[in-house]
């Protein structure tokens, strides 16, 4: 249609990029071909119409609609570039394997040809090998029966087998102690369906060892936020996870100021019952402490006092380092310190899981999103932010946390020999 016309000029006409003189000149040339002229005019109309087109209103806050679980794979999963590299890698590997296989086949053929020519693989007596035993039978017959070698079978023996036959049998079987079975192996088969993936693979060598006395405990700045309908279900999930992780993992319910307060009150009230104590004085003391608690002043002192009191109560136990909170699972060496538990619980984390740094990615991958749970990592809130969050935090908070969490998680993962204390915040599922 536009055989004798310059495409670029026609486009410029449609786009309105020609000045009036050039446009008029081009239109005159087009006048000779009414069909082409009409098409160009309609193209101009089309352009105007398309530029008028609208799109429906944007959903109110599309960022807020991003589900937290969409970020979780982003935190853990490889970047698109990594994925592309990973997809390319197998091709390279197969190419390399192919080359190696071709080399082996070629070598085999050459070796076969050479062997055929030289007769190396002929069956029978090999050069430099002792003759078969029956050749010595006459001399053996002269030996006393207990010194005679065992009777020979008639099977043909290749050169290498002579050595095996003459090698003495092992005198006694050395029984090696069985390696301690991992907790993974002993885990109950009824795994709680915390996610899309199956139970964790048994940990690699090194992770399977028990906790050392001087484990490096690394407190995370971020928390695992686990959405669960009820606390029991969340606890069950965490416990199962820790079980699967093996002996270098623990789950602790964090000691909290509320717990300290309760213990303190119990202790003070117990004093009231003591003979010779002035109840009014004790009551005043309790009230005074309540005021202190209400003002959130001197809470650490209160916690320390409660802890000491508990130790006094457990006099029969020599283990004075026993954590105050109920340690649900795992060795106590991996439990966070009391102060750490207080800090975690004060920032909204009800539990702490101690996880080998090398296992962090797998743990998070294990906690896949499913209908019951949704997990996400976010920075630990301080007290003020936590209280504001309870009033209805923006769904964007996890998104803004992403860069910080990523950096913090990678930093911890680099400490391969450490154990990460990962606080766990339990949240009610959001209504979507």
């Amino acid at each position: 249609m536009f055989e004798n016309l310059d495409e670029a000029q026609l486009l410029a006409l449609v786009e309105g990029e020609l000045d009036s003189q050039e446009a008029e000149s081009l239109r005159q040339r087009l006048a000779g071909d009414p069909e082409a002229s009409a098409v160009i005019e309609r193209m101009i109309d089309d352009r105007a119409l398309l530029r008028c087109s609208e799109v429906p209103d944007l959903p109110r806050d599309i960022l807020g609609e991003l589900e937290p679980q969409m970020v979780r794979p982003m935190l853990l999963g490889p970047s698109p570039a990594d994925l592309r590299r990973r997809h390319r890698r197998p091709q390279r590997r197969w190419r390399r394997y192919g080359a190696m296989a071709a080399a082996v086949v070629a070598f085999g053929i050459l070796a076969g040809v050479w062997a055929t020519i030289t007769g190396v693989f002929s069956i029978g007596v090999q050069p430099g090998v002792r003759p078969p035993m029956h050749a010595e039978s006459s001399s053996n017959d002269q030996l006393p029966p207990d010194l005679r070698p065992p009777p020979e079978t008639d099977k043909l023996v290749l050169a290498g087998d002579n050595d095996r036959r003459t090698r003495p049998p092992p005198s006694a079987a050395i029984v090696l102690p069985k390696p301690p079975s991992s907790t993974i192996g002993d885990a109950p088969s009824t795994a709680i369906p915390v996610g899309g993936e199956g139970p964790l693979e048994p940990p690699k060598t090194g992770d399977n060892r028990g906790p050392a006395a001087d484990e490096i405990l690394l407190a995370a700045d971020f928390a695992l936020v686990l959405e669960a309908g009820d606390l029991a279900s969340a606890q069950e999930t965490l416990q199962q996870l820790v079980t699967e992780l093996g002996p270098r993992a623990a789950l602790v319910r964090n000691f909290s100021y509320e717990e300290a307060r309760r213990l303190e009150q119990e202790w003070l009230l117990s004093r009231v019952r003591r003979p010779g104590t002035d109840p009014a004085e004790v009551t005043a003391s309790v009230n005074g402490r309540n005021d202190t608690i209400a003002g959130r002043r001197n809470l650490r002192e209160l916690a320390d006092r409660a802890r000491r009191q508990l130790v006094v109560r457990q006099r029969n136990r020599s283990d004075t380092d026993a954590p105050l909170s109920e340690q649900l699972y795992g060795p106590k060496e991996l439990a966070p310190s009391l102060e750490q538990q207080l800090e975690f619980s004060d920032r909204g984390a009800a539990y702490t899981i101690s996880v080998p740094a090398s296992q962090l990615s797998r743990v998070l991958a294990r906690l896949q999103v499913d209908q019951r749970h949704s997990t996400v990592l976010q920075m630990l809130r301080n007290v003020d932010r936590k209280s504001s969050g309870e009033q209805g935090e923006s769904p964007l908070h996890w998104l803004s946390d992403y860069p910080q969490v990523l950096v913090a998680a990678r930093r911890l993962q680099d400490r391969r020999d450490g154990v990460i204390l990962l606080p766990v915040v339990i949240e009610q599922p959001r209504t979507r």
């Binding site: 026609l10 486009l11 119409l49 398309l50 008028c52 087109s53 609208e54 991003l66 982003m74």
Partner: protein, 229 residues
């Protein structure tokens, strides 16, 4: 047919640069300087910067997605997908191109990838385009301005037909038209987004316009279905 081919009224007082800005989704746009500030702040660890940056772009991303796939649900999904990719790639963004160009390129890649998958999945006929799933906003999807009622109807019909024709185009052609006419990008930027040289942009744009016209003619000759009415 003549009525449908009535000349559209060009938008009143519409300048070249205002074309894209007229969209309600352009409301959240920020200046290039502010973009750079936010980018630096994000790299410096400011956790709030990324939210502001994405908020500023969400409208534009959504409009490109919608114009490419013309399905609100898909457009929303693609917008989220794009934003995640932007988020992931922001650290590696080397500032060789403008941030807006880079974001549009990511968006367009998501859309083209989606359309490729969709084309593979689409075993059924072109009814998917013409049928019940066709344009969510056929007659009202064109700005009609201050026109008389009959002209409004004509222009809306014309616009609806044109969008259907656009749907039937090859995704690369559709992309170049969307970027040029609906995003108001310069040829150079289109080239950067699609990764093609300037000359190719121009020739592809012209071919896309020819193909759109041809598809529109087919649409006009096609008997009206119940869904079109």
């Amino acid at each position: 047919m003549d009525a449908a081919r009535a000349k559209p009224i060009p938008p009143q007082d519409r300048t070249h640069s205002a074309a894209a800005g007229a969209s309600p989704h352009a409301a959240g746009r920020i200046t290039p300087l502010r973009e750079l500030e936010l980018l630096e702040a994000h790299r410096g660890g400011d956790s709030g910067a990324i939210g502001e940056l994405l908020r500023a772009y969400q409208g534009r991303i959504y409009s490109i997605c919608y114009r490419m796939v013309r399905d609100e649900h898909d457009a929303r999904d693609l917008t989220q997908d794009t934003m995640l990719r932007v988020l992931q790639g922001l650290d590696s963004f080397d500032q060789r191109s403008k941030l807006s160009t880079w974001v549009i390129r990511v968006t367009m890649n998501c859309c083209l990838s989606h359309l490729r998958k969709q084309r593979l999945r689409r075993h059924s006929s072109i009814d998917a385009v013409h049928g019940a799933n066709a344009p969510a906003h056929p007659p009202s999807s064109m700005t009609t301005g201050e026109l008389s009622a009959p002209r409004r109807v004509e222009q809306a019909e014309m616009g609806s037909m044109l969008l259907r024709a656009l749907d039937s185009l090859d995704s690369q052609m559709r992309a170049v038209l969307v970027l040029r006419d609906m995003q108001d990008l310069e040829y150079e930027h289109i080239g950067e987004v699609l990764g093609i040289p300037l000359g190719t942009v121009k020739s592809r744009l012209f071919r896309a316009r020819c193909a759109l016209r041809a598809a529109a003619e087919l649409e006009l000759d096609r008997p009206l279905t119940k869904d079109d009415q």
